[in-house]
């Protein structure tokens, strides 16, 4: 049984705090085994009963669980390979040992969460996953991480409490604590809606859905890169797994699907809009996780809508879009984080404004980052395009079937998805080109930079091949996912025909054919150059042309002006606080910096915090030190209870 295998190998590591090689070697091997194992039995269901006196823990591995474990192992393998070298950044061996220890625990707990099928143990591993990631984040220990982690822990804990409450209500209705008994419980619609809201917002808080996404851009940049890669690529997916798992129990109704879609669209749009204004690479990538979670939710929303309206094909189409994007997002987001990590590993600099021209010095990282950037902006030959294409198809198919408001919302979702695509392209053009291309902006970074160690690059290239394979091999991958979907919705959809991929409405696209045409078309310009090639073409290297003035690297466009224009037009959303200081005299140095604030922080969170601390201040009065007043509390309480007894 895989779980026992994985647990044994990882736990073996847990007790012996060795240096980084062992620290990340074993999880790499374990996840390799995991990938092979999960890929094999995406459809079988096994069970593992672990006898604990308090509650018999039961772990069943059904296709849904297997799919998510496959995703975890895939990214886990790459991240642990990458981690072997990356851990050097944390010099003292105790720290690396501790990091390895927590890293393994993190992997084990995620696997357990995905396969737990008992309310108590699911909650135990769910909270443990948060606890371990809390420690991992604290490895680069700075003032900012303290604020980030407390925010992260509190939101995760409140989400956990909501999930626990929901599951317990469910279990009291179903009469037992095991998940499979929840399947057919008759729950009144009102309670079902309450449960759905509890689950959606409980898991949503972990996934970073729009209103509760605030912790994500704080926590991920603070963590070491391969940890934040694992967190954003995979941990968020466990929340999606949670939403799907819980909604399979409840008797669905249409409005839930539409609600998920609305939230998905909002998260997508706002995620990418905020990503554009970030200077810190990892914060930018974190906001992109919010955006991609939005896209996944769009797909799943259509899936749930289909299940609610009983239209199985629509449900299957929706889920394919959603689940396919889950695996795609895991691969290219992991890749991007690892890429950013290797940049930081070499330059110790997260702020994009200072980096530049690293493409020359770090060619492999540059190439890997480029593939990741193209995949995330869903450019055709790669996997991002295929999953967004599925989502488009499912939205169209849903729009045709729906009533007046339904079509309107679905079409608006399509437009939002398209807009997100454009903004994503803009954002990743900015990120890639500012870091890796152009002239270097900071001399000492430039000479220090060199290609990151072999294993880190190997880790990245595992994910690069995964991206390309998922892109070109779309028909094969999609048919595999259909197996999982038949488990969820009870009916599949013939998706793949040869090299093309079919959607519910019959429209087909074949990424393979496209790349063939693209490559053939590449020869055309080459032929043209052949024909006219009779000139003495000596290519001279010159400085870029700056209308005559001496070219300096400062003249080059940097990250913020690239999107500066967008910030002006969208200032109603960003309300960035512009800091403009005019120093002395006419030719004085002008200092200008504007930082976009996440306005949701003021709208939702500050009032809550103010409310609680205000309440606490009010209550503080009762503990004022004077004994007489304390004594009188006892008497007042006595009087109160007597009144209660008489009238109660």
């Amino acid at each position: 049984m895989f779980i026992a295998g994985a647990v044994a190998s990882l736990l073996l590591y847990k007790f012996q705090k060795a240096a980084s090689y062992i620290g990340f070697g074993i999880p790499a091997a374990a996840s390799l085994y995991g990938i092979w194992y999960f890929f094999m039995n995406l459809t079988g269901t096994e069970e593992l009963i672990v006898q604990f006196p308090v509650m018999a823990a039961k772990f069943t591995l059904d296709p849904l669980g297997a799919f998510f474990s496959f995703v975890i192992c895939l990214v886990g393998f790459a991240a642990s390979l990458y981690g072997i070298h990356y851990a050097e950044e944390y010099r003292e061996s105790a720290r690396i040992g501790a990091m390895g220890f927590f890293f393994n625990l993190f992997m084990v707990f995620m696997l357990m969460v995905v396969s737990a099928s008992h309310v108590f143990w699911f909650m135990v591993f769910w909270e443990l996953m948060t606890l371990v990631s809390f420690f991992l984040i604290h490895f680069n220990d700075s003032e900012k991480t303290a604020k980030a982690t407390i925010l992260y822990m509190v939101i995760a804990h409140v989400g956990g409490a909501a999930i626990l409450a929901g599951m317990l209500i469910m279990s009291s209705a179903a009469g037992s604590l095991y998940f499979q008994d929840f399947q057919g419980t008759a729950v009144s619609p009102v309670v079902a809606t309450v449960l759905f809201l509890l689950f959606f917002f409980g898991f949503g808080s972990k996934a970073g859905v729009f209103p509760i996404h605030v912790w994500l851009p704080e926590a991920h940049p603070a963590a070491p890169s391969h940890v934040s890669a694992l967190m954003s690529a995979v941990m968020i997916k466990t929340a999606i797994y949670g939403i799907i798992r819980t909604c399979m129990w409840l008797p669905l109704n249409e409005w839930w699907g539409i609600m998920i879609i609305v939230f998905g669209a909002l998260s997508a749009l706002l995620g990418v809009l905020y990503a554009l204004t970030q200077h810190d690479t990892k914060a930018l990538l974190a906001y992109h996780s919010v955006e991609n979670i939005g896209i996944i939710l769009l797909g799943c929303g259509v899936g749930f809508y289909g299940m609610a309206t009983g239209n199985a094909i629509l449900a299957a189409a929706g889920f394919i879009g959603g689940l396919y994007h889950v695996i795609n997002h895991a691969t290219f987001k992991g890749l991007l984080f690892l890429g950013a990590g290797s940049v930081i590993f070499r330059t110790h600099q997260q702020d994009m404004e200072v980096l530049g021209g690293l493409g020359k010095k770090m060619p492999y990282t540059a190439f890997a980052f480029l593939i990741g950037a193209m995949a995330i902006s869903a450019l055709p030959p790669l996997n991002g395009f295929v999953s967004e294409w599925f989502t488009y198809q499912s939205l169209i198919q849903a729009a045709i079937g729906a009533g007046f408001s339904g079509t309107l919302i679905f079409t608006m979702a399509i437009v939002a998805l398209a807009l997100t695509g454009v903004l994503a392209v803009m954002c990743f053009v900015k990120v890639y080109s500012v870091i890796f291309t152009g002239t270097p902006r900071d001399e000492n970074i430039w000479d220090k930079a060199k290609e990151s160690p072999v294993l880190m690059v190997a880790g990245m290239f595992v994910l690069v091949t995964a991206c390309i394979a998922l892109g070109l091999g779309a028909p094969y991958a999609a048919s595999k996912i259909v197996g999982v979907i038949t488990y969820i919705t009870g009916s599949g959809l013939d998706v793949a025909a040869g090299i093309t991929v079919k959607s519910g409405t019959g429209s087909i696209v074949s990424p393979f054919l496209i790349s063939v045409i693209f490559v053939s078309m590449l020869f055309v310009p080459v032929i043209f150059t052949m024909i006219f090639k009779d000139s003495t073409s000596t290519t001279r290297m010159t400085k870029p042309w700056a209308c005559g003035a001496k070219y300096t690297s400062r003249m080059q466009i940097t990250a913020s002006p690239f999107t500066g224009f967008l910030r002006q037009t969208m200032n109603w959303l960003y309300r960035s606080d512009v800091h403009f200081k005019e120093t002395n005299g006419y030719f004085g140095k002008i200092e200008y910096s504007s930082h976009a604030r996440d306005i949701w922080w003021d709208i939702i969170y500050t009032p809550i915090i103010k409310g609680f601390s205000g309440l606490a201040r009010m209550l503080n009065v009762i503990q004022n030190g004077r004994m007489q007043i304390y004594a009188s509390y006892v008497l007042i309480m006595l009087a109160l209870f007597i009144i209660l007894a008489i009238f109660g």
């Binding site: 503080n620 503990q623 004077r626 007489q628 009188s632």
Partner: protein, 215 residues
């Protein structure tokens, strides 16, 4: 009304307890307290004689030994050691006595029917007075600032409780009664020791000065 003697003694007891709380001079307050416990013992004897209950004689004896002799001696020793004769103004200021009087009488009237229903000796006035004394003790603790006065208040409500116990359930096993008395004595000793240390550190016995622990 039943026999005049018990009723008279109980009224006398009530007046004495009011005086104990109100008198500012600590020495005189302790003397009044000793007088009060004496009347309590007399009540016990009167009831025992009246209703010919054997156990009450033992109760009266032990009460006399501990409460009339030992407790006042301890309190006087504390006053001698700290040398503080006079007590500060109480918490409620001028109208404090009226509040405590009013509240205690009200509570007494309210609780009395409940106690009377199951008590063995259906003597209405003494139960009323015992609850009154109990409440006077509690309110004394709440309103009074001086440590010694608080110890006196503690002994007061101890007497009240003792009288109630005697009236409602005199046939309780002896060990119980002994337990309560030893508790009373020990708490007076401990409070006294603490008061000495309080005086040593705060320079006076005014407990309202001690309000550093806030929030």
């Amino acid at each position: 009304m039943e026999l005049g003697l018990i009723v008279g003694l109980s009224f006398f007891l009530a007046v004495m307890s009011f005086a104990v709380i109100e008198v500012r001079n600590l020495n005189r307050a302790t003397h009044i307290y000793t007088l009060q416990t004496l009347t309590l013992v007399l009540i016990f004897l009167a009831i025992a004689w009246e209703h010919s209950i054997g156990t009450l004689y033992i109760w009266a004896g032990t009460a006399f030994l501990t409460k009339v002799l030992l407790v006042p001696f301890l309190i006087l020793m504390i006053i001698k050691k700290t040398g503080i004769k006079h007590e500060e103004a109480p918490f409620g200021g001028l109208f404090h006595p009226f509040i405590s009087l009013g509240v205690s009488i009200a509570v007494a009237i309210m609780l009395e029917p409940i106690f009377i229903r199951f008590s063995l000796l259906k003597l209405q006035i003494p139960i009323l007075v015992s609850i009154f004394v109990f409440m006077m003790g509690i309110l004394g603790l709440v309103f009074r600032k001086s440590a010694v006065k608080q110890i006196l208040a503690y002994c007061l409500f101890e007497n009240g409780a003792h009288l109630t116990l005697a009236l409602t359930a005199y046939n309780a096993p002896e060990t119980v009664e002994m337990g309560i008395l030893t508790d009373a004595i020990f708490s007076v000793i401990i409070m006294g020791a603490l008061a000495m240390r309080f005086f040593h550190h705060f320079g006076s016995l005014d407990t309202s000065q001690a309000n550093e622990l806030k929030g």
